[in-house]
C-alpha cells in the first residue's frame, strides 16, 4: 500500500459517461503514478440481423454500490496502487455506449494491469447487476455464463 497518496473513486451512474474524459482526469490526478491502465466495456455493436437493439442493466440500491466499494477496497489491499477508478452504468443503453470503466494508476505497470483485470473479473461475476437485452423488439433476461466463474477462479 502506498498509504495516504492512494485514492479510490467508485461510482454507480444512471446516465451516459465519457470514458476518455474520466481517464484524462484520473491520470491528471495521479502524477506520481508511472502509468495508468484502463478497461472500458461497451455495448456491442451487432451488425447482423437479430442483433441487440438495447441493453438494460438493473441494480439494487442497498447492495450494488456498497459491494462495488468493498471490491475496490479489496483491490487496493492487494496491489500497490496510487489510485483506482470504477464507474459502472445502470439503466438502458444503446450499442456503442460505455457500460463500465475501471482504471488503475500505479508506480509500476504490473500492479495496475493485474488490479484492473481482477476488478473486471469480479465486477462481472459478482456485482449486483441484472442484464436484459432487446432483440427483435423483445426484452429477455441474460443468465450467468460458465466462463464468468472460470474467469474468477483464476484469482483463487
Amino acid at each position: 500500500m502506498s498509504g495516504v497518496t492512494n485514492s479510490v473513486d467508485v461510482r454507480l451512474v444512471t446516465t451516459a459517461f465519457d470514458p476518455a474524459r474520466e481517464i484524462a482526469q484520473f491520470t491528471a490526478a495521479h502524477p506520481a503514478a508511472g502509468g495508468v491502465v484502463s478497461f472500458t466495456g461497451q455495448v456491442r455493436e451487432d451488425s447482423q440481423a437479430g442483433g441487440v437493439e438495447a441493453l438494460e442493466l438493473r441494480h439494487y440500491g442497498p447492495l450494488t454500490l456498497p459491494e462495488m466499494e468493498k471490491l475496490a477496497a479489496t483491490v487496493l489491499g492487494r496491489w500497490d496502487l496510487e489510485g483506482l477508478l470504477v464507474i459502472h452504468r445502470s439503466g438502458t443503453m444503446q450499442p456503442g455506449e460505455p457500460i463500465v470503466l475501471v482504471a488503475g494508476a500505479s508506480r509500476h505497470r504490473r500492479d495496475a494491469f493485474a488490479a484492473v483485470d481482477f476488478a473486471m473479473d469480479h465486477l462481472k461475476s459478482e456485482s449486483w447487476f441484472w442484464k436484459r437485452e432487446k432483440v427483435g423488439g423483445r426484452w429477455r433476461w441474460i443468465e450467468p455464463r460458465h466462463e464468468d466463474f472460470e474467469d474468477i477462479r483464476r484469482w483463487q
Binding site: 466495456g41 457500460i99 441484472w130 450467468p144 455464463r145 464468468d148
Partner: protein, 82 residues
C-alpha cells in the same frame, strides 16, 4: 403493517411486477404461503438469494420480520458480454 417484496432480474417477470406490498407476517415461510405457487417456485430456485433490508440472509428460517422490512429476491447476476 406491511412488508415490501422486491423482485430483481427475471424474478420481476415471474412476479409480474418489480415490487409488491404484502401484509406483515413473522417468517419467510409465511410470506411464501401468501404468494402464487409458480412465483414461490421461482423464488425458491437454486441460487436465488434473499436480502432483508439490504443484508444477505443465509438461512431462510433466521429472520423474524418486522413492519416495513424490505425483502429482496436476487437471482444469479448476469455477468455478460465484455
Amino acid at each position: 403493517m406491511a412488508l415490501k417484496l422486491v423482485f430483481l432480474g427475471r424474478l420481476e417477470d415471474a412476479a409480474g411486477e418489480a415490487e409488491r406490498k404484502v401484509p406483515l407476517v413473522a417468517t419467510i415461510e409465511e410470506v411464501f404461503a401468501g404468494l402464487e405457487p409458480e412465483l414461490v417456485a421461482a423464488l425458491r430456485a437454486d441460487r436465488v438469494k434473499l436480502a432483508v433490508n439490504g443484508v444477505l440472509v443465509r438461512d431462510l428460517d433466521a429472520p423474524v420480520l418486522r413492519d416495513g422490512d424490505e425483502l429482496a429476491f436476487l437471482p444469479p447476476v448476469s455477468g455478460g458480454a465484455v
